[in-house]
Symmetry: C2
């Protein structure tokens, strides 16, 4: 185990909190060597720890309140002592190296923005999600933190995503694509057409041009940028389509006699494939652009998903993703000023 401060794990967030969250913490500590501190209601958490014979093995930090799964962004203002808020506070003080929560995404994003604040020069935060492409995941952002963007925001998202790909995925000179509705530069809506120009003019980015919806899973680029509205729709469309394709296949298989025999033979492989497409396996989404690492695990996470999220958070902390975002954003803003020295109104 290396010397990073522990991961602050929100014990109260998620559909199966605190039971599965605590079980995930135990897994992370015992099987993956990731240091964890649990943030939540002390009695419930320690009871859950005892069930794993892990009382005293993982420290607990008290949080009086929790943000419910169906609560939105406003709850972060109403509950300044929520488990997510306290977890952010630990990171801010340097007592934890990252936050992990399976709580409501809107609640985690709002609390993170409020408690950790945006990094210097960052216009808006973004949620980065790795897509199951090969040989390496493609990072899609924003998956829902910022629904309305300016073209300049999309350029920053490119740097946020590139920093993530460099530090968490080991990409060198990550290639960046812009999600839009045609291969040519003039295709898209007003925001993406202008963003296309800005991305192409940025010397610190390896811009590969436009990416269309059917190429999201082709692995053609390392980073795909889009606004949080489109990104969220695309990501959920992928999830829904995978579910649909599998269910249609199940129906097709069940309809035939010979086919049923075939299905028996390959059921285990199907299961392996489904697992690979499962958001639990990759650990979760990452909120980028704040003064601290925040990993948002799937709301329905079980122990395995929580352990993977803690591993991901530890990797991001060790690799210095937040610092790399800071370097990239600072460099981009310097180069921007150099090119338009007397006219930097676009920086606002």
């Amino acid at each position: 185990m290396d010397g990073i401060p522990p991961i602050a794990l929100d014990a109260m967030g998620g559909d199966h909190a605190p039971g599965e969250i605590v079980a995930g913490a135990v897994k992370a500590v015992r099987e993956r060597g990731v240091p964890v501190v649990l943030v939540g209601a002390p009695r419930a958490v320690s009871e859950a720890l005892a069930a794993h014979d892990a009382g005293g093995e993982i420290p607990i930090v008290r949080a009086e309140e929790a943000i419910a799964m169906d609560e939105g962004a406003l709850a972060s203002l109403r509950r300044p002592r929520s488990s997510i808020a306290i977890a952010c506070h630990l990171v801010r003080r340097g007592d934890a190296s990252a936050v992990v929560s399976a709580g409501s995404t809107a609640g985690v994003v709002a609390t993170g923005k409020l408690r950790l604040r945006a990094q210097p020069g960052v216009l808006r935060p973004a949620i980065a999600v790795p897509l199951p492409t090969r040989p390496r995941p493609t990072v899609l952002l924003d998956a829902g933190a910022t629904a309305d963007v300016k073209p300049e925001t999309l350029v920053q998202f490119a740097h946020l995503g590139a920093a993530y790909a460099e530090t968490a995925l080991g990409a060198t000179a990550p290639r960046v694509g812009l999600l839009t509705i045609g291969g040519e530069a003039e295709k898209g809506n007003k925001v993406t057409k202008r963003a296309h120009e800005l991305l192409g003019a940025d010397p610190a980015l390896d811009f590969a041009g436009n990416i269309e919806g059917h190429d999201l899973l082709s692995g053609a680029v390392d980073v795909i940028v889009t606004d949080g509205f489109t990104g969220n729709v695309a990501l959920k469309t992928m999830e829904g389509t995978v579910r649909y394709a599998f269910s249609e296949m199940r129906d097709a298989i069940a309809a035939g006699t010979f086919a049923r025999l075939g299905a028996l033979l390959q059921r285990s492989r199907m299961r392996a494939l489904r697992r690979r497409l499962d958001p639990e396996a990759y650990g979760g989404a990452v909120l980028l652009g704040l003064n601290g690492t925040v990993v948002i695990a799937h709301g329905s996470s079980t122990a395995e998903g929580i352990a993977a999220a803690c591993s991901l958070a530890a990797t991001l902390a060790r690799q210095g993703t937040v610092a790399r975002v800071g370097e990239r954003v600072a460099a981009a803003s310097r180069s921007h000023r150099r090119r338009w020295p007397a006219n930097n109104h676009e920086d606002r």
Copy 2:
């Protein structure tokens, strides 16, 4: 065969034009009883007809030019005598009941707007695509005609889609959903949040609320409205994800010995399923809101896809989809004026 004027089929548009287009026309006439007129270069078209022993069976209308597959919207201005333009002209004059083209979508949309013009009161046209849901397809629009929309445009799209569902799919009182990024009214971007209010206030619509990406294929509603940027991304994401899921499955199957045997047994069922998800099978997208029916077949359409597109066009013409759109838009605008008599600046 009933008495509608023929379908004006653009013989020069599509990856396999004119060969597969003409073959599709022959299929439409002989197997589906749909009257067709072919629009294009007479020599090439009549040679293709001769190959099917169909010389003289299908009339040809001469068009000097064609819009290439890689040409965009501007080509419609540069080529006023293109095969698509002439096909639109036939509809305008009443000599054809609908246009079918497998040409470049941008070219078809731009030419259709220019030659057929928007219906009275229609702000912007939209492309409607039926999704393979059960028991009845869900109509998604806009799939790419109008990338930047106002909230009022989305309300009109709801009426366009409802008219399509009523006439082409036999839906009564179609339920309309708004594609956005959360179930609650306050989720979304600026445009969808306002559109949510307007849709809910429209007495002529059965508004079912917000729809998320993972519910596109659930068949929960009859019509899903969105801007042409998001709709195009979502549709192509679906196509890409289906292709990805099948290819992953093929890999999983090929990796095992037992599994390979299973695969052999169910290959035919897989093929049937793929066909059902194939855009060729359902005939194509429909450009709504113009003074005439325009069906946009997939660029890679073969004869079967073209024949299906001609059938769809004939159904829309027989069912009076254009007239129904006109009625709905007129009624919506009357009710709008009734509710805000002194302040109709939102109508602009």
